[in-house]
Subunit: 201 residues, 4 copies
């Protein structure tokens, strides 16, 4: 019993330290392309030693995944907040999502990393699937709220895909600055929203 409590406390502490680590890394990645960052920089940003990172994460990919999951969770929460009274329109949903992505390069960069090259093992895959399902639930909520009744899950996938595609296709369009990219991607988000809306009528 005592030991359980003790363990419980220890786990809480551990989770808290892990969270701190995660947040420092996120801050760092907001300033610097995560693929060009190395462990030493991460540890320095977190104010801990390199070894400590490995006390909390088996390897860097696990940390990356955690950051990705954190972002997915964050978006989910943002959508939940929007949903409080009624589901947002596609227009609003798309703009919220694309705005978030414009401010969090890391999210779609990591999506790229895991989807295009990463090889997750079983446990991480489960976590990933779980969180993605939660996010998809919110999107599906909107889809339903928009009056679509058939194939709502797969339509949600399509909508989600389309939005991600905007970023991968135009987030770094050579020759455009951050503001121009924001505007262009939001415009595209608007179009995606509109075509999905028209379907629902």
């Amino acid at each position: 019993m005592t030991e359980n409590r003790f363990n419980h406390l220890k786990r809480k502490e551990r989770d808290e330290r892990r969270r701190l680590l995660l947040e420092s890394a996120r801050d760092l990645f907001a300033r610097k392309d995560f693929l060009k960052v190395n462990v030493r920089e991460i540890s320095k940003a977190a104010g801990v030693s390199v070894g400590t990172i490995y006390n909390y994460y088996a390897d860097l990919d696990e940390l990356f995944l955690d950051i990705f999951l954190k972002s997915a969770e964050e978006i989910t929460q943002i959508l939940d907040h929007e949903n409080r009274e009624e589901f947002p329109s596609f227009e609003r949903l798309c703009k919220i999502y694309i705005s978030y992505l414009n401010q969090n390069m890391t999210f779609y960069q990591m999506m790229g990393h895991f989807m295009l090259g990463g090889e997750l093992s079983v446990e991480p895959t489960k976590k990933l699937n779980h969180i993605m399902r939660l996010l998809m639930d919110r999107i599906e909520g909107c889809v339903r709220a928009m009056g679509i009744q058939k194939d709502t899950r797969i339509v949600s996938h399509a909508l989600f895909s389309a939005l991600n595609g905007i970023m991968i296709s135009y987030a770094r369009y050579p020759g455009r600055n951050t503001e121009e990219i924001r505007r262009h991607t939001l415009k595209l988000a608007g179009i995606i929203a509109k075509v999905f809306e028209e379907k629902s009528n």
Copy 2:
């Protein structure tokens, strides 16, 4: 005159050798994630020495870009062939594109590489923009043929984005095999096609 012809021949030979190199690399990348391949493997696959690679490409990124451009060109040609008599429907366009991507992971992997992390210099950027414009022209052709009259260019961007997004979001969905992925991505392509079609009515 003579010299011109001679140079012309030499350049043709060189282009031909470059093409052979390119094709070997493409074949290799069809079997193995291009980010996990190193120069030595590429040279072995091409049956040349490491140094030879650098006789044709300044660095690996230049080779990668060339492969990407080649694929973009190939898709453009496929669409041109389709267009011969009349422009394909969205349905057909989307399925052709997604089918191609399913058979050429490298294309969207490299799109990810260049869009999410790459830093192209001026000349490569120009080549990239040029070829993408050609591809976009074909898509815009379909968009117009479908009866959309306003904002055809940006709608084309949106359609293109949406399709790319399908791959980045689901091409490696953990736990699914190649065939399942093909089916799922084609399904999503179908939905994208439909929502864009409905817009055009």
Copy 3:
């Protein structure tokens, strides 16, 4: 306070390890032309891994420079020791310097490396200038002690140059063995000493 002391200790340890690395490299260079040695050999000679070298030096040139500086310092100390009671005669100064150079090929080899081809950045250049000034101070001391009163600094430069020139001109005279070279260079040192002495009268 505690942390200061701790840091102090750690820095001392680090300095000590750096010194060990330096000494192994010097030993190696005594046996083998430093330009024909590669990192792996250096690391092997030091009994550490390649990576460790880069924990202490940003690149090989930094290590080379450190070795050069170390030698300059050593000569300075030898001269200081000589100066204890009175400044050595030119004869003695020249012979000491040339003897040292005969036993430390690396010193003038590196002088050649940095002076004829190297491109030092700001910080290294400062360190180099500082140590050379210290060495020159000793030479100038002798120059003054020999009764020369005017232009002592530039005369010191001339003397220093002349001695270095002996080595670059005859240290590897083809067809002569180590002993013959030692004797010849010392003889030349004697002449340089004599002509500078005569000036001082």
Copy 4:
């Protein structure tokens, strides 16, 4: 007989082509540090193919040596020209030599290359020794003309060494520009001249 003449002609032609090669390389090295130049650049500068270089020189070091010898010969000729009526003073000799070196970095750079690291084989060594002896003869001429009667050969060596040393010690003094270096090295040359002159009185 005929063949002899033919061979003779061919040899002359060959020598002429070799000379052309040599001159292009010298021009190139006047603009760019010879240690940072590669064969391709040399061949391009000469307007021939890489392979052609190897038709005239067994390896690059042979070419380098030839350039060095050429410079030594040139200096010898300059001194001969000066000597036409009477031997130049030390002052003049030293300034001529240092001026030449200031305008021909390559000469002392290559001296450094061969003396500090190079490993010449027998034949090249002979050529090197021969040309250096010719140069030394001129210097010795001056030494004698200045009234020195004993040890004239070794005094010449010492003088020669001292001058070379000026360049290796100060030719690239960090933070000084070309003109400052020219002035400083000439000043040092003046001092060397003076101390040797005083000896001769």
